[in-house]
């Protein structure tokens, strides 16, 4: 299990290969990558603020919960903070399990919790000014399925 909250970019390919190489005896690996969308050219940048002390412990707790619930053989979360540009990868999750259903469920669970329970806040810097991204009701509702 590895967790990194960082301002630097990460290499999805290198992370995926390293994760897969260490995933045995898993038969299934799922990755999710979140990317900054440019919203039809309106967005110039995204700034992600976080709560350094709390971020690691909140995410580690989610990962431990997912690992136990779906018997993961491994899990990875990388989440960036700071200034990102359209097309940049914001974060990734990877899960490894014996079978596909568990790997998928754990990745979706981690994403739902990262969205609404990890202390990150996104600000969109657009051509008409800057605005904090509002939390979506659908993201909060997504937690009820777990």
């Amino acid at each position: 299990m590895r967790l990194s909250v960082q301002s630097d970019a990460f290499d999805l390919g290198a992370e995926s290969n390293a994760f897969m190489a260490a995933a045995a005896p898993a038969g299934a690996v799922v990755t999710f990558t979140g990317i900054v969308r440019d919203n039809q050219g309106i967005l110039q940048a995204m700034e992600i603020e976080h709560y350094p002390g709390m971020t690691d412990r909140a995410i580690a707790a989610m990962m431990e919960q997912a690992t136990a619930r779906w018997s993961l053989t491994d899990a990875l979360v990388i989440h960036r903070h700071g200034r990102l540009l359209p097309g940049d990868a914001i974060m990734m999750v990877a899960t490894a399990a014996l079978h596909r259903a568990e790997a998928f469920a754990a990745a979706e669970f981690l994403m739902d919790y990262l969205k609404s329970r990890a202390p990150f806040w996104k600000k969109e810097i657009g051509i008409d000014g800057a605005d904090w991204v509002a939390a979506k009701d659908t993201d909060e509702a997504a937690l009820t399925r777990w």
Binding site: G34, E49, H50, Y51, G53, M54, R57, A58, H79, I90, M91, M111, L114, K115, S116, R117, A118, P119, F120, W121, K122, K123, W132, V133, A134, A135, E140
Partner: protein, 82 residues
């Protein structure tokens, strides 16, 4: 003495990312009352409690939670990670 941290638009409205305050508040809700009484952006920052989240010593908590023994209180809007 207790450390109070603000994030995202709460930080912007209040104007500082953190401060150390002397408080007699027994609960989070009492503490918010003391802060709002200062005016100066605090009233605006805490105007909508439905958009407010609180963490005590880096764990998500409730407004009615007691502050006894707590060293760090953080206020922020709903999280938008992922």
């Amino acid at each position: 003495m207790i450390d109070i941290l603000y994030f995202a638009w709460l930080r912007e409205r209040i104007g500082v990312p953190r401060e150390r305050v002397q408080t007699e508040a027994l609960t989070v809700r009492d503490l918010i009352g003391e802060l709002v009484a200062r005016g100066q952006g605090y009233d605006l920052a805490f105007a909508d409690m439905t958009s407010l989240r609180v963490a005590l010593d880096q764990e998500l908590s409730e407004f009615d939670a007691p502050l006894a023994g707590v060293r760090e209180v953080a206020f922020f809007p709903p999280m938008t990670g992922g």
